[in-house]
Assembly symmetry: C2
């Protein structure tokens, strides 16, 4: 395994460069003063260029050829065979993209992010328009490096959800929309519960402390992570020993920071759960955006907004915020955190309507990339489609096209489908975990999460990218991705909350 | 100037790599969770290796040769000539050091720092001993790369104080010791003032807020900087647009964090004052450790502990801490912050005895490098020499050999002389500024610092490394480094504070 050992050394360097870049990005969004921005973009571009040059060097191709011969007789699910296979896949992707394009995108993304942090609060889409046009151009140029594609979005989707294409995502989304819209209609025809108990003042530090206490119980390892403040919460990693999350706090919304923390913690549990001996290789990452989001959504929603969870945590939440919550019954709180609303902001959306937000963005990404919508019309098209889907006018771009960080800090294309794939998979994984360990729901009521986290670690986390998303889903749940568990979960939870009727169940196609 | 332009491009990359490394180090000492340490050392080593490889490549030598021809007809003090000259100097230094040694030191330093953060509070020199032996070995191996040297410490001293050698530093220190010790004796023969007003509880956030308010008035640009918490305060830079400082707070000591903030702010004013068009070149750094420390000490001590300063700031300090200070007269506070003590900790030492701490360390560095003291005996030799110099027993290694971060986070050699050179130069620069602008002392009483900072920017800061330390000192003050202004400053300040007598003045050789 001499060639594989040499290849590993090079991979270690490439990941050290990528992780150094990740730290520079983390700092840009957490602590960097504004004067640091111009150099930061340049520094990020340099690091991504060096990593890309190193990875796409002919030497890596030769070592890969030799390593393939070395592992030829190993079973496909051996670690070494998987390492060579996944490295080959990423190598073949990377060599098609010119280094100049990688570093141009990296520098442009840093500049675009910096501009967005000012443009969003100022409701200033005009400033972002030329920047976004350049982003779209760079995104297309990257996609065009890949000759075999049905849609120009396919290569971009494959970067984050290997195995999926525009057409396959669209098929899943079309089915989901057909089955979900009747549930949304049924729920929003009812009187929504009173959620005013959440709209109370609570200091940032007390909110953060409570959230940190919850994720400590979830099993987030603070010796290998920490939480900092940012505009748009995210999880990032500088090694398997340093997996950080970020959040933001609204002092007039008692649970906003909390659920963001639970969400990012889900991502972090995945990364902290990867086998340490995968460090410095492409195996040491979550396998896809969809599987990653399945974990953030599982811990945020399926666990985090469950009644069992709050049977355990609500007394301590009341104790932490007595003036706000001591007179609010658990049931009122539980209904409030699960209130379904047609609302403007994706990250604040409830579990049921959330997918409509994602589908809107996914559709716009395809239309931008495939040339059916131009950036100059994007803000207006957003408004029209949003109003058509949600029946709500978009009062400003801040709460419209400017709301999400993604298009303003990376490529357009392939970045949103993972959220809904994740919602779907979160229920499928949770069902499988409960089938293996029927005590999980009562564990949650007792504030115990180790059996659930253990099953997820065993079946999902530890493997990193050793298996593809499809393989992980099949191995862990026995079937390919399926909408049934997710729709059954939504029905099972919201039917009693909103008093839905049997005939509404049938329209949603819930078994 | 085609070759110079090409050279500039490469230099930009090298500084971007170095600054990325600086951010990784900053994070290691401010926010990084313990699990991040192993990868961080590796990442830092990689970045320093890449920067060193790039800088010492034959291409850089060829471009330098060509650039020298391009600037041959320019005056020596033109920017381009200076850039080529300083780059040549650093190139000739760097090519002598093998890349492996650079990255080994970088990785070792990160590991050593991490170990020191645990060993110091645990008073555990035994753990640090083998680490420090390796540091000494690496330091010697680096010094041995330089054939022309009288002392093995010379190359290490030249890294931070170009133009100085062990012998020239020793000559300055010997003269200083001769003239300073009589002042120390005279002062410590008096009854010290009561400093108990400083030993009161004040919350960390209030202490920090006050300090930030002061450095805002000094002119620290928060759009190009920020302050974070660390074990051992420092200033660092990720570009000329991002010059950060760090501090630490003791809630039982009201001014400890404050003076550390003023000190680091002095360093930062220097770096923030460098001409922006020097960005990405070796000119965009302070010219030497001594000149750098002259600025930290000037703003911390000559300004920051002056009576005029506190005539301005004391009312607002009292207003910020009424329960602690409202009944403490200005004069009592002023005497307290200038109390001279034979004390254990360098960074807490008063201005007068501080230099004895530095000389102790400088002497030990020479003895370690030149083989007269072994690491295994270092803790004991420290105790003996400290007691001889200060007349105080060292109760533990935490307050002895483990107290300073330097030997535990970089080379041994060349790191301490700058502190005392800086003390000496701080008075020389301040005198020259006041000679040019006699209104500076009354400006300080009015809380105005722009004339002083303007003079320093004009004469010192803006030039970065364009001129050597010796050139900067001569250009700004009209003479080479001289002890006279510093001893006159000490006498002028402490004579009235301690009621020193004329015959004591003569013994100290103060004119």
């Amino acid at each position: 395994m001499k060639s594989l050992a040499e290849l590993r050394k090079i991979l270690f360097e490439i990941y050290d460069l990528k992780h150094a870049g990740a730290l520079l990005s983390w700092d840009q969004t957490t602590y960097m003063p504004p004067g640091g921005a111009p150099a930061r973009g340049r520094q990020l571009a340099l690091l991504s260029r060096l990593a890309h040059e190193r990875f796409t060097a002919p030497e890596v191709g030769r070592l890969l050829d030799a390593a393939e011969r070395e592992v030829a007789s190993l079973p496909a699910d051996s670690d070494d065979a998987a390492l060579v296979r996944v490295t080959r896949r990423e190598f073949e992707q990377s060599v098609l993209i010119p280094t100049e394009l990688v570093s141009a995108l990296s520098e442009h993304s840093a500049e675009s992010y910096q501009a967005w942090t000012l443009a969003r609060p100022a409701n200033d889409f005009a400033t972002m328009r030329p920047i976004l046009e350049k982003t779209l151009d760079l995104s297309r140029r990257i996609a065009e490096c890949f000759p075999d594609r049905e849609s120009i979005a396919d290569p971009l989707i494959a970067f984050s959800d290997y195995g999926m294409k525009a057409a396959s995502v669209r098929a899943v989304f079309d089915e989901l929309r057909t089955r979900l819209v009747p549930i949304v209609r049924a729920i929003t025809s009812r009187t929504p519960p009173d959620a005013s108990c959440l709209a109370q003042h609570a200091t940032a530090s007390e909110q953060l402390d409570f959230g940190l206490g919850v994720i400590r119980k979830y099993g987030y390892d603070f010796d290998r992570g920490r939480q900092d403040m940012t505009h748009h919460p995210f999880m990032t990693k500088f090694s398997l020993g340093d997996v950080r999350i970020t959040t933001r706090v609204r002092e007039e919304d008692m649970t906003d920071a909390l659920f963001s923390t639970l969400h990012e913690c889900g991502h972090a549990l995945y990364e902290q759960g990867i086998r340490m001996d995968f460090e410095g290789t492409p195996l040491a990452n979550g396998t896809s955006s969809g599987v990653h989001e399945s974990q953030s959504r599982l811990w945020e929603n399926i666990v985090g907004r469950s009644r069992g969870m709050w049977e355990h945590f609500y007394p301590s939440l009341q104790a932490a915020f007595p003036s706000q919550l001591s007179k609010v019954p658990l049931d009122t709180f539980y209904r409030a955190i699960n209130r379904v609303d047609r609302s403007l902001i994706r990250v604040d959306a409830d579990e049921v309507t959330y997918n409509l937000h994602v589908m809107l963005r996914f559709g716009l990404e395809l239309d931008l990339l495939e040339g059916r919508v131009e950036v100059k019309d994007l803000a207006n098209v957003w408004r029209e489609r949003f109003e058509a889907d949600f029946g709500l006018p978009v009062p400003d771009d801040r709460r419209g096209v400017l709301q999400d960080v993604h298009w303003y800090s990376g490529v357009i294309g392939g970045v949103f489908q993972g959220y809904t794939l994740g919602n779907i998979l979160s229920a499928q994984f949770f069902d499988a975990a409960c089938a293996a360990h029927p005590g999980i729901p009562s564990d949650i009521v007792a504030g115990k999460f180790d059996v659930l986290r253990g099953w997820l670690s065993e079946n999902v986390y530890q493997h990193g990218s050793k298996f593809t998303a499809d393989e992980v889903v099949r191995r862990a749940t026995g079937k390919p991705l399926s909408l049934d568990p997710y729709l059954a979960y939504l029905w099972g939870k919201y039917q009693p909350l909103y008093g839905l009727r049997e005939e509404e169940r049938t329209a949603a196609g819930v078994a």
